[in-house]
């Protein structure tokens, strides 16, 4: 039996009194790639926000078990330390905080939490070099303020670079393909595929099928009106592309 990484049971969530998620069920095991597709307003981004711990959302029912722990009880930073990673649809620009200082701080706080030795300066630089190459991130961008003045594609690459640096157990890619040209899409996908292994898992949230040409999912789920209404293999994505969401 393979290991369960995340188990979402009957999850409901609302924002400002409006129910967005209406009972989502999903189980992701180690080594798997799941795609969640759905039309605009179906609750895709709400799901990723709730999992990452954004506090504007109110959980109205259900549970989320992450590596056997009650995920919803943890602060966003603790979720990151436990191994959850969200690649943002809109990465935030943070003026005055350098990319490097940001990652170093994140890694140090994580090792503190896990009672591990902090990464040495030498190993840190080594890892930066290796992981930046993976997504072809420009040297100059590494030392700039977080996402400040980055193009759309550079921001998404930076997300995957951060993912590579933090080595999460579960990565949720929220509309990572939006705003990417085909070359950038290939680079980003290649990065994700390299990071994938038998011990971790990936949830790809996307509106379009094209990202799934490069990151092949084991399962495709259709989210509509706050519920998963259909589950299939990668062919489901192709079918959706062809027939549109109304077909579901």
């Amino acid at each position: 039996m393979s290991n369960t990484i995340i188990k979402i049971k009957n999850l409901s969530a609302s924002i400002e009194g409006k129910e967005i998620l209406k009972g989502v069920n999903l189980e992701v095991k180690a080594g798997e790639v799941h795609a969640i597709m759905g039309p605009n307003g179906s609750g895709k981004s709400t799901l990723s926000s709730v999992l990452a711990g954004r506090d504007e959302y109110e959980i109205t029912g259900g549970s989320v078990e992450f590596l056997g722990k009650d995920l919803l009880e943890y602060d966003p930073e603790e979720r990151a330390w436990l191994g959850l990673f969200l690649a943002f649809q809109y990465p935030v620009e943070i003026a005055g905080v350098s990319n490097m200082n940001f990652l170093k701080t994140a890694l140090h706080e994580k090792s503190k939490y896990l009672n591990e030795d902090p990464i040495s300066a030498k190993d840190f630089l080594k890892r930066v070099k290796e992981k930046a190459a993976l997504v072809e991130l420009d040297d100059k961008l590494k030392n700039r303020s977080v996402n400040e003045g980055f193009s759309g594609g550079e921001k998404k690459r930076n997300e995957i670079f951060q993912m590579a640096m933090l080595e999460p157990i579960l990565a949720i890619l929220d509309e990572t393909d939006s705003g990417l040209d085909i070359d950038a899409l290939k680079v980003v996908s290649n990065g994700v595929n390299t990071l994938k292994n038998k011990d971790n898992a990936i949830i790809v949230i996307t509106h379009y099928q094209r990202l799934l040409d490069y990151i092949t999912p084991d399962f495709v789920h259709v989210l509509a009106d706050g519920k998963i209404v259909k589950t299939g293999d990668k062919n489901l994505a192709l079918e959706l592309e062809e027939k549109g969401y109304d077909w579901v």
Binding site: D75, R79, A80, L86, V92, V97, F102, A106, S145
Partner: protein
């Protein structure tokens, strides 16, 4: 007929003996002046009743202090101690620099009280009337002093009033860096009323960095009256750390061409601290540049005030004046009152001013958290990033590092 006002604050005080004529004049002025209320435009946001309605004691420089507690080794500075407002030659380092003179202000010093804003600022008048003694620093022509002077002000007993008086004269083409820091450890209710007069002569370069850190129960009013002559450069940095009350008044009279003036400040009050920065730059001559960056992060029930006045006088053409005041309120109960003022009487000038007061970017905090940076660390990183623009204005690396600590 003149009315005579008796101020409780002066009740127990012995007048200054620095220069009897100056003292006499100041005492006369003082008896005809009243302390400002919030009806006065310049004091609209800053109430001073708590400070002036109290009786204080004067205290000499005796008293036990461990000078090592206050010296910042990394600065490699000439350390000058001013205790309870008294310049202490005993505690201060000997000066080994040629062309630099450090001494008590005496009656022979013609520059004393020539720049002070006695007529317009009652706290300056109060200082002139009761200054305990004075510190004079002068740099001779063509002399660049590489070693900074660190003037360390320490109040040693509760309820003390310190009236430190500093006179700094840079002769032509000279250079000097001065750091003034203020402490009042483990005591309460002290009032420091500091006045610094500075003359920056032709082609001279002067940097003054002030660090106010007297603690949770102490008040400071610090007034700098500065005059710049042709081709001179002036930098004044004001960092207010733990300080219950601070009112900083920097008045720069740019009376020369091709001058550069930089005024910068940072404050991060907590609890009920009240931090007021008033600056005034008078451009009296053409072809000059002035720039101001003040930034604040305000927490709890603290109050901040920024009032930056730039006056470009008639005939002062080709002036560039920039002013910026940005604030972040990190609690719902903190208040910031920001008021930039430009008065322009010349026609060929380039001026800009802007002020912003906002909250933390919650998106940025969440982003940092989602990467595994705790909320407190995330806030700290954002504060640091926000303040860096001001810290980067400090040219002395060692000083910058020690202030950021």
């Amino acid at each position: 007929m003149t009315t005579t006002t008796i101020h409780p604050i002066t009740e127990n005080l012995i007048p200054s003996t620095i220069n009897n004529v100056a003292t006499e004049n100041a005492l006369n002025l003082l008896s005809a002046m009243t302390f400002p209320t919030r009806k006065s435009e310049d004091w609209k946001y800053t109430r001073i009743n708590k400070i002036i309605k109290k009786e204080y004691i004067q205290k000499d420089a005796s008293g036990e202090i461990n000078t090592k507690d206050f010296i910042e080794e990394s600065l490699n500075a000439i350390n000058v101690f001013v205790i309870n407002g008294h310049y202490s030659t005993e505690l201060s380092d000997a000066n080994k620099n040629d062309g630099l003179v450090l001494e008590k202000i005496t009656i022979d010093n013609i520059n004393y009280n020539s720049l002070a804003s006695n007529q317009t600022n009652i706290f300056t008048t109060l200082n002139t009337a009761y200054a305990n003694n004075g510190l004079s620093i002068s740099v001779q022509k063509n002399t660049k002093i590489k070693q900074p002077i660190h003037i360390i002000h320490v109040n040693t007993i509760s309820n003390v009033i310190a009236n430190p008086r500093t006179l700094i004269v840079l002769e032509q083409s000279s250079e000097l860096e001065v750091i003034q820091s203020y402490y009042a450890p483990t005591i309460e209710d002290t009032f420091t009323n500091s006045v610094t007069e500075v003359l920056v002569s032709e082609n001279a370069k002067f940097t003054l960095t002030k660090i106010e850190n007297e603690g949770a129960n102490s008040s400071i009013i610090a007034t700098d009256d500065i005059k710049q002559l042709n081709d001179s450069t002036l930098r004044v940095n004001t960092f207010t750390k733990r300080q219950e009350f601070a009112r900083n008044g920097i008045n720069v009279s740019v009376d020369g061409q091709n001058c550069a003036t930089y005024l910068n400040g940072a404050y991060s009050p907590i609890k009920k601290e009240h931090i007021d920065n008033h600056t005034r730059v008078d451009h009296l001559q053409p072809n000059c540049m002035s720039s101001e960056i003040y930034k604040g992060v305000l927490n709890d029930k603290s109050v901040g005030v920024f009032n930056g006045k730039v006056i470009v006088h008639v005939d002062a053409q080709k002036i560039e004046a920039y002013q910026k005041n940005n604030n972040v309120l990190i609690s719902d109960t903190a208040t910031m009152n920001a008021k930039p003022e430009l008065e322009i009487f010349a026609d060929d000038v380039k001026c800009s001013h802007g002020t912003t007061t906002g909250q933390f970017d919650e998106e940025a905090i969440f982003y940092l958290q989602a990467r595994g940076i705790s909320k407190d660390t995330a806030k700290m990183m954002l504060v640091e990033a926000f303040m860096d623009e001001v810290y980067n204005e400090i040219e002395n690396d060692n000083l910058r590092n020690s202030i950021k600590k």
